[in-house]
């Protein structure tokens, strides 16, 4: 299945976003988050960005005050997941502009929408930033939908003007 969960946690250990790709009860989530956050936050910058926890492997990466933690199966390519996190941050950065913790807090649903585009059933399904952000921009009215339900992606818009 690949990715089992994605967490964003600040350095005080407070959850800022949580998306699970397998069902856990509220108590299980709380316990799991507590354990892994404690584990990851205790590590220093020289150490690996990977931590084994029970039958998960946690790949984590820190951006300013925010930790991104991704729980994966044991046979996942850790380095690729690490870069997936960066892709996520780059995508959010493109959308929010200089994305910060507060952006995610104020626009929790948008951060979720982006994740919905990128990951389904625990698999990475989309890695093109343009494709990930298109629905978001349509919903915000940035891009006008044409009558035949075909929308122009930003790229296409630019191609027409240039």
């Amino acid at each position: 299945m690949g990715i089992r969960f994605i967490l964003m946690v600040n350095k005080q250990g407070q959850t800022r976003l949580a998306q699970y790709y397998e069902w856990l009860t509220l108590e299980e989530r709380r316990a799991l988050e507590g354990e892994i956050v404690r584990k990851c936050l205790a590590r220093n910058e020289q150490q690996c960005s990977f931590v084994e926890h029970r039958n998960y492997k946690i790949v984590y990466r820190r951006y300013a005050s925010l930790f991104f933690l991704v729980g994966v199966d044991n046979d996942e390519n850790e380095l690729a997941i690490l870069e997936f996190i960066h892709l996520l941050v780059e995508t959010m950065d493109r959308h929010f502009g200089n994305v910060c913790e507060l952006d995610i807090m104020f626009h929790l649903e948008k951060a979720h929408f982006m994740l919905e585009e990128m990951v389904m059933n625990g698999c990475i399904v989309e890695t093109s930033k343009a494709n990930i952000l298109t629905p978001e921009m349509v919903m915000n009215g940035c891009i006008v939908e044409t009558s035949n339900a075909n929308i122009l992606t930003p790229v296409q818009l630019l191609e027409k003007t240039s």
Binding site: A80, H95, N98, N140
Partner: protein
Amino acid sequence: MGSQGGFYQSKEFLDLVKSIGEARSKAEEDRIVLNEIETLKRRISEPDIPKRKMKEYIIRLVYIEMLGHDASFGYIHAVKMTHDDSLLVKRTGYLAVTLFLNEDHDLIILIVNTIQKDLKSDNYLVVCAALNAVCKLINEETIPAVLPQVMELLAHPKEAVRKKAIMALHRFYQKSPSSVSHLVSNFRKRLCDNDPGVMGATLCPLFELIARDVNSYKDLVISFVSILKQVAERRLSKAYDYHQMPAPFIQIKLLKILALLGSGDKQASENMYTVVGDIFRKCDSSSNIGNAVLYECICCVSSIYPNPKLLESAADVISRFLKSDSHNLKYMGIDALGRLIKISPEIAEQHQLAVIDCLEDPDDTLKRKTFELLYKMTKSINVEVIVDRMIDYMISISDNHYKTEIASRCVELAEQFAPSNQWFIQTMNRVFEHAGDLVNIKVAHNLMRLIAEGFGEDDDNADSKLRSSAVESYLRILGEPKLPSVFLQVICWVLGEYGTADRMFSASDITGKLCDVAEAYSNDETVKAYATTALMKIYAFEIAARRKVDMLPECQSLMEELLASHSTDLQQRAYELQAVIGLDAHAVECIMPSDASCEDIEVDRDLSFLNDYIQEAIEKGAQPYIPESERSGMLNISNFRNQDHHEASSHGLRFEAYELPKPALQSRIPQALIASTEIVPVPEPMYPRESYQTTMPSIPSDAGSAELKLRLEGVQKKWGRPTYTPATSTSNSTSQKTVNGTSQGDGASTVSSMRETYDSRKLQVEVSHEKQKLAASLFGGSSKTEKRPATGHKAAKASSHMVENSHVLKSSMEVASDKATPAQQPPDLLDLGEATATSTALQLDPFKQLEGLLDTTEVASAVNGAPAASISPDIMALYADTAAGIRNKNDPDLLSGLSNPSVTNMPGTTAMPQVTQSSSKGPNPKDSLEKDALVRQMGVNPSSQNPNLFKDLLG
């Protein structure tokens, strides 16, 4: 709604987020959330709430659940929101239900109808939102309700819909493969989709399908190879590029698939060699993502039919990983090494020092990965040092999950490769002492059996020596406080069986100890039972030897206590003990023959000795016996019971005690324990499910239990010759260690030449000697399968050590030059831009570094300039930002934290940020300044408590 993601939220919502953001402790956060729950409970059920307000309430519910509190009171409102006409509101509703509900929740039934409707919508984004929900909320029973529509959507004109439809089908396959088994051909079809996104997504279900049934997909090898080739040749849209790598995530998925398809298939593998070789060559080894792809290539190469050239490339990459300063790369290197040594074991040798560095690294993750590698390369020649290290590590950690794993690995290795029984017993003692409650009870039974059976040769003297040493060590260990139950059972059994066998210890010594055990662990009935039976054996042997038996007073009181025990098992043992003591020597000899635990117990299952008696009875007119199952009237019950019985035997509970008539000898093997064996939580699939009694006597002929036995053939010869002496030995012994007897001269010269080279760095010599020694004992024979390596080979190896050493010297210079410019290495290993640029420079030529920084700057700026230049014609850059744009924007932030020399390091890029800074704001024409101002306006003051909230993530 404020357009462009502005702050359309209410003051209330902003305040909530603000207070959560500024909460100092979990308790404070909890207080805020509990307060919020009260507010929402009141508000959310008010009539006529405007849509936008409701959406906000729902997001507040999401917050409540995310922070660990129950928001079930509002679920129904989220469900209602999925009916809304507005896309944004609807999607928020779907998001909330997917976060709140699992697929078996009662409310799902209310959503299925909405999903069905939305799947037919004209707006493709509504369809997408519904498909997202399908992936999370549809269970096996509701699949048929949406399946036809999902199938139709596979041909939707929008690629986003096709992609999500494929993933929905994937989900159905995961949930219930049989429900979509007739539709799997659709995955093949979508692989040829025009849109690379759909194709990329289709790889996920295909990977799972292929993992389950490789042979049905061999025909796709050519397709996958050609797709991978096109991706690697940058035929996909630039939108899929990530840090100048063409669609790396798709490449990785394809390589995973090829690894499955090529495994053990020469023909299929041959098709892959070219493309994998190309990727090895093309991959940018200076970026994380490039290394991720390279790692996947190694995984692929080590899985498919071996190709020498590719293996060579893989080995090169591994050695680069292991030599890297980045812990992440080292970790990947160790993992990759573990994969590759299965095919070419000889490569481990050149990395021995790197591996030992990782083993001794304080980073736990790296350490564990290294233990995994060692586990894979354990042989009889290095088992002692590896298991020794593993146990040391096992003792040092407190994580029970991993402790269990490593304990069972130690046991497995010890059983497979033990050089001597003595060592095996000692090792087991250590494992039991420190992780006894975590290992499988079978391991304990094995140990008992080993002590009972001895070496498996007809050398009684050696056997009894082994037993004496076991008894002695156990008497010593009993002094330790709080021993694990399993270990105590072993100890009691061995003491009972062999405690007085060599007359070293008197019966009262042993019985005294056993009584102490029973008293100290009075809550553990199993241990008490073992102790009681052991007492009985000791007394029986005494009686049989015509010695006078004085029962110790504590033993007397123990027996009296047990006679009244609540446990019938303990009671029975106590009564048996009482009875045995009262018998005469001759009778006791028959009941409890000395040292007979290995004798076969013959069980007359048919009770044929009763035949005459039955015959007689029948002749006298008695009813013949009708088996229970054939008795009419009882049919149902008996069927039921049979079934019951069958199930029981296929599950874990053991009922052997009822199947076998209890022979007289049985009491020597504590019966009650068998029932309790499965309580031990460790799953140990490698042990065949057999009861202790049945395995014991039939060992020599039992093929099923062969793997349980120590593999001692061929290892015996090694006993006299130590391949490893625990760490205490001085560095002088190194020469002997590396040489191992045969070519002493060679080894000595190696060491002395080593000393010369290291003359100036005494300290380093010491360290390196220690490592050398460890390396020698770990890797000494890793590449050889024969037991005694040839002398020539040995010499060659010694010289290779020398080479390795001069290497170390060189690389230490590298390290030194590296340290001269620490500012260039950003604290975060993962960051891009400069870090990678300088490391390429390092790899180009370590000595160039010493010639001055100028070279580095040139390289750095060249590397930096290239992406910017190549991307500038890209229209994306005009629109908003690019990957390079972000990175460039990144650089000054990164560098500002570092010292000045690093800034001068990159003259090319310092100018660019200013240009990109303003244009890299994404689609929102909003600045961070503006954002800050707006936030302040709303009353969230960054200077107040948590300024971190405003820190740019990428800054």
